[in-house]
Amino acid sequence: GESVGLHLPTLSVQEGDNSIINCAYSNSASDYFIWYKQESGKGPQFIIDIRSNMDKRQGQRVTVLLNKTVKHLSLQIAATQPGDSAVYFCAPAGGNNRLAFGKGNQVVVIP
């Protein structure tokens, strides 16, 4: 099956600093990738997506970078705020409208 992993299980970051969350995927056929944020006690929430014909996409304070050559993507959060404390998942599209979720990466923002 799909192997989706995150390099750092927990990332502690000082408020105001930038955060970088990494994700490796194994299915080279994946052509669409989504980042989700999950706050404690809530369901995953869409943050940003990127298609395989792009290598960078920016949103509000977030940027996703995609490197198809090494099958790696990252989520960058600028000026991290306490509200950014959550678990972040990358989810490559796996076909049939299914997504392959990794185990998640906890981000803890230190005030």
């Binding site: 809530k42 995953p44 299914r98 979720f101 185990k103």
Partner: protein, 113 residues
């Protein structure tokens, strides 16, 4: 706009009992999904449905039953609950017209004693 809702939000039951978790979406999305989330496993797909009356197994379907008689509803039934089914259950929906992004409900926390 309610979006996607789940009920109940919390449920305690006993081993061997039948439990049904409800999921309702107001977007008329064709696809709906059920996941369970456990520490150390992330989100695992139980069942999904591409349209009314079309369902398919995911990664971990054993012990679960689904139906989809209406586009907006996708109930998940545990026919005989086991302790290993203690988990947080999330329903999600998506539409090809909106891309492959799945939109999640708030979850149901199920405890099987």
């Amino acid at each position: 706009d309610a979006g996607i809702t789940q009920s109940p939000r919390y449920k305690i039951t006993e081993t061997g009992r039948q439990v049904t978790l409800m999921c309702h979406q107001t977007w008329s999305h064709s696809y709906m999904f059920w996941y369970r989330q456990d520490l150390g496993h992330g989100l695992r797909l139980i069942y999904y449905s591409a349209a009314a009356d079309i369902t398919d197994k995911g990664e971990v379907p054993d012990g679960y039953v689904v139906s989809r008689s209406k586009t907006e509803n996708f109930p998940l039934t545990l026919e005989s609950a086991t302790r290993s089914q203690t988990s947080v259950y999330f329903c999600a929906s998506s539409s090809p017209a909106w891309g492959e992004t799945q939109y999640f409900g708030p979850g149901t926390r199920l405890l099987v004693l």
